[in-house]
Symmetry: C2
Subunit: 295 residues, 2 copies
């Protein structure tokens, strides 16, 4: 049996191949396409699309969720490009490479972000157009994704990040920002794959709990790595968020308590999967992996 | 019989009311919502949503297209907010009011634009979720809109605008940019309404010709107004595009030849509607109106 690291690598490869195919069909050659591809191929972990494929595979054929998984990665990438802009977080380095606006100018970085968000919906809609028997599932999955990436989800989290920068380190504010900025899209990745494969409502409910727990673990480990990690492994300047007086789990709870919360969330994530038995083995291994990752 | 001006005003009112309702349901109160609403209610002509409602009304009930019409206006508004950013056209004035980033900062203007694009899809998807008997039509209409607003449509036009600024005044480049930057969304407005009301393929084909013609007229008149118009009427600094050495119809063809092209396109637009008889009276009047408008 291969480990979860190998599974993630294999799913990531599948996603990368499909992303290349989709981009070649959807974009005319030029600087805009180059800018979009630059960030899309900058070597992300592909966690979100992998989650979407894993839950789709639990209830049916993972392949039917591949284009949705790619759309989710496009949305994630657009959010990183816009977050890094000078007017936002003003980051020069992302995943160990110069950020999009540093390479392509701010104008193209704004358009590349806009383009990736739009492409995500184009990809999902094209799949829905071509799979008429799956249209109700596609519409529900798109709604889940659009809700998570929108102004009560990811974009609200980013706005909160700006509004609360330098303010008091309040656990409620941390919770508000985190559940929207990172949590919403991770949960949507888990749910959309399951919806596409026709999971039942009680199954979606268990997966929602799982999603909430692993995204908290993911964010806490991110904050710990940012404070302690090695630049070459995490691909950005360690301590940057703490330096900018950003609200993080480590700044609110300290490192030891943060680790404890992450461990408890992982236990709860694994417990939420019990109703699925053996079928949820990969998701369960992933929860443990997210707790112990070092980049 | 009321004139086309009154019809546009009435449809605009319907769209404005629904936009307010949608925004109140979709957004949490805060600066992000304020920034989105600021540009959404800045007094646009609502041409695109009006076109969508008009063609929906030709083949069925216009009301069923109202949320899609609002989504189209959200996409149009997001494109204006991002176009005005310092890194793009760097405009301080839009529709006679300070631009979004001047009032809310660049960071919020970027997020407000992202938010409106995302909201557009949320609105359409919510309608599709709630109208199960209309899902195939909804998916097709969403695909048309997403294609028009994307990286081979509006976003490609904006990228072309940047890439060719200050370059030779080439009619082919003008055509390339115009059909994408303005033309694509106007055509999508015409087609999406008709698709939602179940228009037949040959009817969509006639409307496509109509859409291509009126959007050329619309852009030419825009360029003429920009060069000759009165600032208080058009709500932006006249001559700004010419001053920035932007590619415009007047800079390529001169004013008289531009007017002649616009008149010919209007004739062709009206002719394309002949197959619909009396049913296309409003669309026909609109084509003539777009030729003679002074703001």
């Amino acid at each position: 049996m291969t480990g979860i690291g190998d599974t993630l690598k294999s799913l990531g490869g599948t996603v990368n191949t499909r992303l290349r195919e989709l981009m070649d069909v959807m974009c005319e050659p030029g600087i805009l396409k180059d800018a979009m591809n630059y960030s899309l191929t900058a070597g992300g972990k592909r966690l979100r699309p992998a989650l979407c494929l894993m839950t789709a595979g639990m209830f049916g054929d993972a392949a039917r969720a591949l284009d949705f998984a790619c759309a989710i990665e496009m949305i994630h990438t657009y959010s990183l490009i816009h977050d890094d802009l000078p007017a936002m977080d003003n980051d020069d380095l992302r995943r160990g490479k110069p950020t999009n606006h540093v390479v392509f100018t701010e104008a193209y970085a704004i358009l590349a972000g806009d383009g990736l968000l739009n492409c995500a919906f184009e990809v999902m809609l094209k799949y829905a157009l071509e799979n008429k028997d799956k249209q109700p599932e596609c519409i529900r999955a798109m709604s889940i994704i659009a809700g998570a990436s929108g102004v009560t989800g990811m974009i609200a989290g980013q706005a909160g990040d700006i509004a609360f920068e330098g303010k008091e380190h309040d656990p409620d504010v941390l919770q508000y920002i985190h559940t929207r900025k990172t949590g919403a899209m991770i949960k949507a990745s888990v749910l959309s794959g399951a919806v596409l494969s026709g999971a039942a409502e009680h199954e979606l409910s268990a997966l929602e709990t799982y999603g909430s727990c692993i995204c908290l673990t993911f964010q806490i480990v991110d904050d710990i790595l940012d404070e302690m990690g090695d630049q070459t492994r995490i691909g950005k300047t360690p301590g940057k968020d703490a330096g900018a007086d950003k609200l993080t789990f480590t700044s609110v709870y300290g490192i030891e308590k943060s680790k404890k919360i992450a461990r408890r969330q992982t236990d709860m994530a694994v417990k939420a999967l019990e109703c699925f038995g053996q079928k949820a083995q990969t998701l369960s291994a992933l929860a443990t992996y997210l707790l112990s990752r070092d980049r």
